[in-house]
C-alpha cells in the first residue's frame, strides 16, 4: 500500500482532504481494472487463457464510481463485460485471474469463467452471459432486501444492447410498482457487439424508464467523480425506500467487443476510437486532475502504477501456477445439498 500522499494544499481544506483520499482511491481502483484487463489481454494473446473475454478498458469510471458509492452488503449484477464490476465491488485480482484460467482457486472454482464470475461475499450476484439476463436477478435481490427489512440496494449493470430485451421492461414495471431499491445502470458504450446502438435503439434511452415512472439520469460516464456523486444520490434515494431509478452512463470500450475482435474499422471508425482514447480516457482524466489539483505528483502516480502493476502481475502468476479443479468436480455442485 502506497504511503499516504503528501498533501501540498493548505491544511485549511479539511473536508477536501477526504475527497482527495477518495479520489486517490478511485484512481487506484480504476487503474487496477485497467491493468487487470491489459493483463487479461496478454494472457489471451499468449494463449494462456481458455476462451474469450470482454474487456472493460475505457469504462472503468462507471464501475468504480458506482461501486464506491455502494456498501459491501449491497448487491450488484453484472454482464459478459464484468471484470470491472467485480473488481470495483472488491474482488481480489488473483482469484479472478484464477477463475479466468479455469483454476480451482477461482471465485467459482473455475466453473464459471470470465462470463460468470460471481463473488457473493461482496454482494456480486454474478456476471451473466445472457444479455439483459440479470434484470430479474437484480430486481429480485432488491425485492428480497425490502422483504427482509434490510436497507440493502441492488445495482443492475447492463449495456445499452440489453435495452432490446423485453425482460428489462417487465422488471422495471414491477420495480416501480413496488418501489424496489434497485438502480438500472445502463452503460452506453455505443455498440451492441458490432452494430452501432442507433441502429438498434428507437426513441430515447431514458424514455424506456420514464415510461414506467422511473426517474432517470444521463451523464458523462468517463468522469468518475460525477458518476460517484450521481450514484450516491440515486442509491440514497433507493435506501430511503423511494424506489428504483435509471442511470445512463455514456462511455466507450477502448478494445474490441472481445479480445479476438481486432479489425474493427468496418463497424467503428479508427478516428472515433482515437478521440475517446486521447480525450476521454477516464484513468488519464483522473490522473491529470490529481496532478493538476496538486493532490499527488506524477512520481507518486508512477509509484502507484508500479505497485498495482505488481499486484496484478502477482495475481496472474498465482493463477498461472494454481491447480485445475479435480476432474471429479465436474459432477459436483449440480444440485445444492
Amino acid at each position: 500500500m502506497a504511503k499516504a500522499p503528501k498533501i501540498k494544499k493548505a491544511p485549511a481544506a479539511v473536508a477536501a482532504k477526504v475527497d482527495d483520499e477518495l479520489l486517490l482511491r478511485f484512481y487506484r481502483q480504476m487503474l487496477k481494472i485497467r491493468l487487470f484487463e491489459e493483463q487479461v489481454n496478454q494472457l489471451y494473446l499468449g494463449a494462456k487463457m481458455p476462451g474469450l473475454a470482454h474487456l472493460y478498458i475505457g469504462q472503468e469510471a462507471v464501475a468504480v464510481g458506482v461501486c464506491e458509492a455502494l456498501r459491501a452488503d449491497d448487491y450488484i449484477t453484472s454482464t459478459h463485460r464484468g471484470h470491472g464490476h467485480c473488481l470495483a465491488k472488491g474482488a481480489a485480482a488473483d482469484k479472478m485471474f484464477a477463475e479466468l484460467l479455469g483454476k480451482v482457486d477461482g471465485y467459482c472454482r473455475g466453473k464459471g469463467g470470465s462470463m460468470h464470475i460471481a463473488d457473493q461475499e461482496r454482494g456480486n450476484l454474478g456476471a451473466n452471459a445472457i444479455v439483459g439476463g440479470s434484470a430479474g436477478i437484480a430486481t429480485g435481490a432488491a425485492m428480497s432486501a425490502k422483504m427482509r427489512g434490510t436497507d440493502q440496494v441492488a445495482v443492475c449493470f447492463f449495456g445499452e444492447g440489453a435495452l432490446g430485451q423485453g425482460l428489462l421492461y417487465e422488471c422495471m414495471n414491477m420495480a416501480s410498482l413496488w418501489k424496489l431499491p434497485v438502480i438500472y445502470l445502463c452503460e452506453n458504450n455505443l455498440y451492441n457487439e458490432y452494430t452501432h446502438y442507433s441502429e438498434t435503439t428507437a426513441g430515447t434511452i431514458e424514455g424506456r424508464a420514464q415510461a414506467f415512472g422511473i426517474p432517470s439520469e444521463t451523464i458523462e460516464g468517463q468522469d468518475v467523480e460525477l458518476v460517484y456523486r450521481t450514484a450516491t444520490k440515486l442509491i440514497e434515494r433507493a435506501r430511503r425506500g423511494e424506489g428504483p431509478s435509471f442511470f445512463v452512463c455514456n462511455t466507450y470500450r477502448f478494445h474490441g467487443h472481445h479480445v479476438g475482435d481486432i479489425d474493427r474499422a468496418y463497424y467503428r471508425p479508427k478516428k472515433e476510437e482515437q478521440e475517446w482514447k486521447e480525450r476521454r480516457d477516464p484513468v488519464k482524466l483522473l490522473a491529470d486532475k490529481l496532478v493538476r489539483s496538486e493532490i499527488v505528483d506524477r512520481k507518486f502516480l508512477a509509484k502507484t502504477e508500479e505497485e498495482i502493476g505488481g499486484e496484478i502481475k502477482a495475481g496472474a502468476d498465482f493463477a498461472l501456477s494454481a491447480p485445475y479443479p479435480d476432474p471429479e468436480e465436474v459432477e459436483q455442485h449440480i444440485y445444492a445439498e
Partner: protein
C-alpha cells in the same frame, strides 16, 4: 398404496386444498416463503387453488403480479439467491415457454456456475393436462423440457396426499424445483393428514402390486393406469402400477426392479409422446431390465398433435384406461 376408504380419523380434502394447505403450513413455518403470480391474491388464481392465503399472509407475501411470466420467474431467481424462498405461480404450463431463460439459463445453472456458492431455492408451480376444451395454447404438458435440464428438479404429484407432501419437500429444497399440477385433478379428493409431513424426491410409489406387467405413469396418467389395471384384472392380467412422482430425480431402481419381476412395461404420460418423458423412462427400463423383458417396452403419451379444441378431436389425444389396457393386452399376448 394408500387405502381407498378413509378411516374415521382420516380427513378427505381436494387436491387444490392440499396444495393450499401445504403452502399455508410452509408460509407459517418459514417467513422467507412467499408467493408471486398473476391473480394469486384476492382471486386465489383462476383455479381458486390459493383462495384465502392472502387473508392470512397479506399482499406482501401473496403478491399479485403483472402479466409478466419471465419477469416474475426472474425476480424469484434473484430473491431466492438472496435469502428468500419464492413460490412462483405460472398459471398454465403452456406459459412455461416464456420463462425458459430464467429457469434454465439462470435458476438451474447458478449453483454450478458459482462453484457451489450461490443457491436458488425456489419453486415454480404450474399446470399440465388437456381435456378442458382450452385448445392448443392452454393444454400442454411440458415437463419434458424441464426434466432435460441439469440443475432443475421436476415434480408431478398424482394425489392430494402426494401434492401436499411433495410441495413441502419442494419448498424446503435448496434447488429450483418445477412443480406440475394437473388442472383436472384440482377437484379430486383424497385422504390428506392434517399437519406436517413430507415426501422425499426420487422415491416412486407402487400404487398397485401386480405380476404380469408394469404400468409406469406420471401425474394425470396414474389414475388412468389404475383404471386400466382394473380393466385388465378380470382378463387375468395382473398389472403393477407405479407413479414415478418425480421425473428428476428418477427412481430407476424401483422401476427396473418391478419390470424384472413382470417382464413387461408400458410408460404412460400426458406430454407429447415424441421426445417426451416416456422416451427416457422407457429406455431406462429397456436398458436396466433388458435380460428380463418378454416384450418391448411400450410408450403412450399424448397424441403428437397440437391439442385441438373440438371435443371429438381433443378426446382422442389423451391416453385413456381403454387405450392403455388395449396395449397391455397385446403386450401380454391376450389378443
Amino acid at each position: 398404496m394408500k387405502a381407498e376408504k378413509p378411516s374415521a380419523s382420516e380427513r378427505v380434502i381436494t387436491f387444490a386444498q392440499a396444495i393450499n394447505e401445504a403452502l399455508a403450513e410452509e408460509m407459517r413455518r418459514d417467513p422467507k416463503v412467499f408467493i408471486i403470480g398473476e391473480d394469486v391474491a384476492e382471486a386465489g388464481t383462476p383455479f381458486k387453488v390459493l383462495s384465502g392465503l392472502v387473508k392470512e399472509f397479506g399482499k406482501e407475501r401473496v403478491i399479485d403480479s403483472p402479466i409478466s411470466e419471465a419477469g416474475i420467474a426472474g425476480v424469484s431467481v434473484g430473491a431466492a439467491m438472496t435469502g428468500m424462498r419464492p413460490v412462483v405461480d405460472i398459471m398454465f404450463g403452456d406459459f412455461a415457454t416464456l420463462v425458459m431463460d430464467q429457469m434454465v439459463n439462470q435458476a438451474a445453472k447458478t449453483h454450478y456456475m458459482s462453484g457451489g456458492k450461490l443457491k436458488v431455492p425456489m419453486v415454480m408451480r404450474t399446470t399440465l393436462g388437456a381435456a378442458r376444451r382450452s385448445a392448443a395454447q392452454h393444454s400442454q404438458s411440458l415437463h419434458a423440457w424441464f426434466s432435460h435440464i441439469p440443475g432443475l428438479k421436476v415434480v408431478l404429484p398424482s394425489t392430494p396426499y402426494d401434492a401436499k407432501g411433495l410441495l413441502k419437500t419442494a419448498i424446503r429444497d435448496d434447488n429450483p424445483v418445477v412443480f406440475f399440477e394437473d388442472k383436472m385433478m384440482y377437484t379430486q379428493k383424497g385422504i390428506v393428514p392434517e399437519g406436517d409431513y413430507t415426501i422425499p424426491f426420487g422415491v416412486a410409489d407402487v400404487k398397485r402390486a401386480g405380476k404380469d406387467i408394469t404400468l409406469v405413469a406420471t401425474s394425470s396418467m396414474v389414475e388412468v393406469s389404475l383404471k386400466a389395471a382394473e380393466i385388465l384384472q378380470p382378463l387375468g392380467i395382473s398389472a403393477e402400477v407405479i407413479d414415478v412422482r418425480t421425473t428428476v430425480p428418477l427412481d430407476k431402481e424401483t422401476l427396473i426392479a418391478s419390470v424384472k419381476k413382470t417382464s413387461r412395461a408400458i410408460v404412460v404420460d400426458e406430454g407429447y409422446e415424441r421426445y417426451g418423458v416416456t422416451a427416457e423412462i422407457a429406455s431406462v427400463i429397456a436398458d436396466g431390465a433388458f435380460y428380463y423383458l418378454d416384450a418391448p417396452v411400450k410408450r403412450i403419451g399424448a397424441m403428437h398433435v397440437p391439442v385441438p379444441f373440438s371435443p371429438v378431436l381433443e378426446d382422442q389425444t389423451v391416453p385413456t384406461p381403454e387405450t392403455v389396457a388395449e396395449t397391455a393386452k397385446k403386450l401380454c399376448g391376450k389378443m
